[in-house]
C-alpha cells in the first residue's frame, strides 16, 4: 500500500509517496525512486541504499522530527496546510529569538527608530543579545518589560516601517 510522507525542512516541503515492505522502503515513483533497507543497531539506524550506508538516529519532538547523521542534525516539521502562510504584512514583528529574560527595553511606543537601533536586550545563558530594528520605522507596540521572562517566538515589539 502506498503512503505519503508530509514533512518540511527549513520551510521547504518534502512530500513524497513511499512504500514499505518489512525493512525495505521505496521512496518516490517511476524513474525517481530511492530504495533503502533499514536496520536497527542499538540507538542507530543503518540506512543502506545500493553501496552506501548512512548511519542515522531519530527522535520525535512535540511538532518536529529530529534526525542525526554523521554529526549533523536535521529537523523536519510535520507539514500542515498554511505552515508557510506567514502574512507578508506591512509591519515588522520582533520576536524573541530564544527563551530568556528581558534586561532592557530601549523601544518606546511612538518613537522613531533607525535601522540597527537596539530595541530590546535579552539575556539567556548569561549572555546578552540585542534585538535591533530591521529597518527605519516607528515603534507601534511594545509587548515586554525589563525582568520579564520570554519564550522563544514571543512577540516583543511591533515596528511600522517608514514608507
Amino acid at each position: 500500500m502506498s503512503r505519503r510522507l508530509a514533512l518540511r525542512r527549513g520551510g521547504t516541503p518534502l512530500a513524497v509517496p513511499y512504500e514499505r515492505k518489512r525493512d525495505r522502503i521505496v521512496l518516490g515513483q517511476g524513474d525517481r525512486r530511492f530504495e533503502a533497507e533499514v536496520k536497527r543497531e542499538g540507538f542507530w539506524f543503518m540506512v543502506r541504499s545500493g553501496e552506501s550506508t548512512t548511519r542515522c538516529a531519530i527522535a520525535r519532538g512535540r511538532r518536529q522530527l529530529w534526525l542525526s547523521c554523521e554529526g549533523r542534525t536535521y529537523v523536519f516539521e510535520e507539514d500542515h496546510p498554511g505552515a508557510d502562510a506567514k502574512a507578508a504584512g506591512s509591519t515588522d514583528e520582533l520576536r524573541a529569538p530564544m527563551t530568556g529574560r528581558v534586561v532592557q527595553v530601549a523601544a518606546e511606543k511612538g518613537a522613531s527608530v533607525r535601522e540597527g537601533d537596539v530595541l530590546v536586550t535579552i539575556e539567556a545563558m548569561k549572555m546578552e543579545f540585542r534585538l535591533t530594528a530591521p529597518e527605519d520605522g516607528v515603534v507601534s507596540e511594545v509587548r515586554c518589560a525589563p525582568g520579564a521572562r520570554v519564550e522563544l517566538g514571543d512577540l516583543l515589539v511591533v515596528l511600522e516601517p517608514r514608507k
Binding site: 518534502l14 525493512d23 533503502a36 540507538f43 554529526g71 522563544l152
Partner: protein, 529 residues
Amino acid sequence: MSPARADYAAHQDAARTDPVAPAIPFRKVLVANRGEIAVRVCRTLRQMGIPSVTVYSEADRGAPHVRAGDESVAIGPAPAAQSYLDPSAILDAARRTGAGAIHPGYGFLSENAAFAATCRDAGVVFIGPSPESMARLGDKTAARRTAASLGIPLVPGAEEVASADRAVAEAERVGFPVMLKASGGGGGRGMRVVSSASEMKSAFEAARREAKSAFGDDRLLLEKYVHPARHVEVQILADGRRAQALGERECSLQRRHQKLIEESPSAAVASKTRAAMEDAAVRLAEAAEYAGVMTAEFLMGEDGSFHFLEVNTRLQVEHPVTEMRSGLDLVSAQILIAGGRSLAEALGRAGQGSAKGASRSPAPPEPRGHAIEARLCAEDAYHGFLPQTGTILMLAWHEEDGVRIDSGIAQGQTLSPDYDSLLAKVVAHGKDREEARTKLVRALRGTALLGVVTNQSFLIDLLEDASFRRAETFTHTVESREWLPPATVPEPALAALAAYVSEPRSAGGAEEDTDRYSPWQRLGAWGRS
C-alpha cells in the same frame, strides 16, 4: 580505555597499595557547581574514596550532576544569584551535610575571594587558592600590577575605568580598537570590543550589566585589542611555595570571547617561547604564594611575542587537554594541595602508575602526544550563536580509545536558560595533532544529540576547515567568517528513515524491539494512518 581513564585507575591502585599513603585529606567534599564540571569532580572524589555532596537549584532537580555524588542538597530557585552564586546557601548545605571542604568548579563562586574568606572563617576548606592569592591574581587589575612588577609584558591598557567617558579617554590614549573586560571574572562575560568612541557608551553599559550579573562585580578594565592574536595559556600547579608549569594550551578559536576548541601543544609556540611563558606563569604563581591549579593567559602575536592577559585562579573548562597529555588528574591534585600536601606529592600522587618514589621527584610526567577539546554547546552556530533551550530527546556518544567525554547532560533533560550553554566536552588524544584531530572529528560525527540545536555540526566544520588543519588559528578566526550549514543533505536517506519509523505497529523489523531505552519507544509512535 582512554589514557585519562587508565591514569585515574592507576592512581586509585597506587593509593590503595602504597603503605605510606597519607589518609585522604577530607571526610566529605561539597561540589558547589552544576553540569559537566560537577559530574567530573564527583568522579575524582569517588576514585579518591572521598564521599561527595552535590547541590542543585529547582531548575536542576533532574540533572545528571544531582545523581553524580553520594548525596545532593537543594539550594534554591533557578536564578544562579539565588542558588549556585549564593554563598550562604552553599555554606549552609556544607554545614547540613558535614562537608569539610568545598570544590567550586569553574564559574559561579570559584573566583570569589570573599567567598573563599567566608569559607575559611566558617572552618570549611575552599579547594582553591587563599583569598589573598586570589585577590592578587584573580582580580584582573591587581594581576596586571603583579605582572608588571615582575617585568612580564602586558597588553597596553587602563586598570580601572569608572565611566564611559573615562573609557573613551583611555581608548584614545592606547588607540582603538580596545577591549572592555570585567575586572572580577572571565569566561567571556562582560567583554566587548569597541572600535570607536561612538560605540563606547552602549558597550560600556552592556559590559557592566553582564559583569554584574555574572560575577556580582561591575568594575571594568580596558585593554588595547591585539589583532591578529592567538590565545595561549599555561597550566600551573602550585603548593604555596613552589609552582610547576604543566605545558600550554592554545584556545584561539572563540566566539563572543568564549573558547570553542582548545589544544595542547600549540603548533605556534616555539620551545623558547614556551619556556619564557612557563617561566612568567611560574613567577606569577610564586609571587602570589599560590596554592592549587592556576592558568596564566597570554596573547601571542604573529611574531611569537606574548603579552600577559590574565590569571584564572581556578580549574579551567579545558583542563582535560592537559590531563590527557600529562596523565595527571588535576582535580585530585587540587584536593591534595588543599589538604596540605606538597607539590611533589600532588604531582606524584595525582599522576600515573609509577607512584612509587614519585613523592621524592617533583618533576611532572613528560607530556605525550597531542590533545584537542571541543565544547559542545546548546547554541545555533549558524545563526549568531543564539542560545538554545529544549528537551534532549536522544543522546548517544561515540566511544573510542583516546576519546574522553565530560558530559553534564542526559536524555530527557530539559535545558534551562538560566545557565551556561556548555553541555559537554569531547576531548581526543593522539600521537600527533592530525591523529587527535581525526579522532575528535570521528567522535563528533559519531555522536547523536537530538531535541536541542547544538554547535555539533559547526565544531566538525571548524576541525575540518583548512585553517585548523594548518593550525592557522587566531582569536578572530571564528567571527571573521560566515559559517553556513552543510550544503549537502542526505535527504533521501533521512526521508527513508522517517518513512520507516512512521508505521511502528506494522509487522516485522526493528519495532519488535522492546528496548526500553529507545527514545522511539518512549516518545511514542510517529505517523498518521
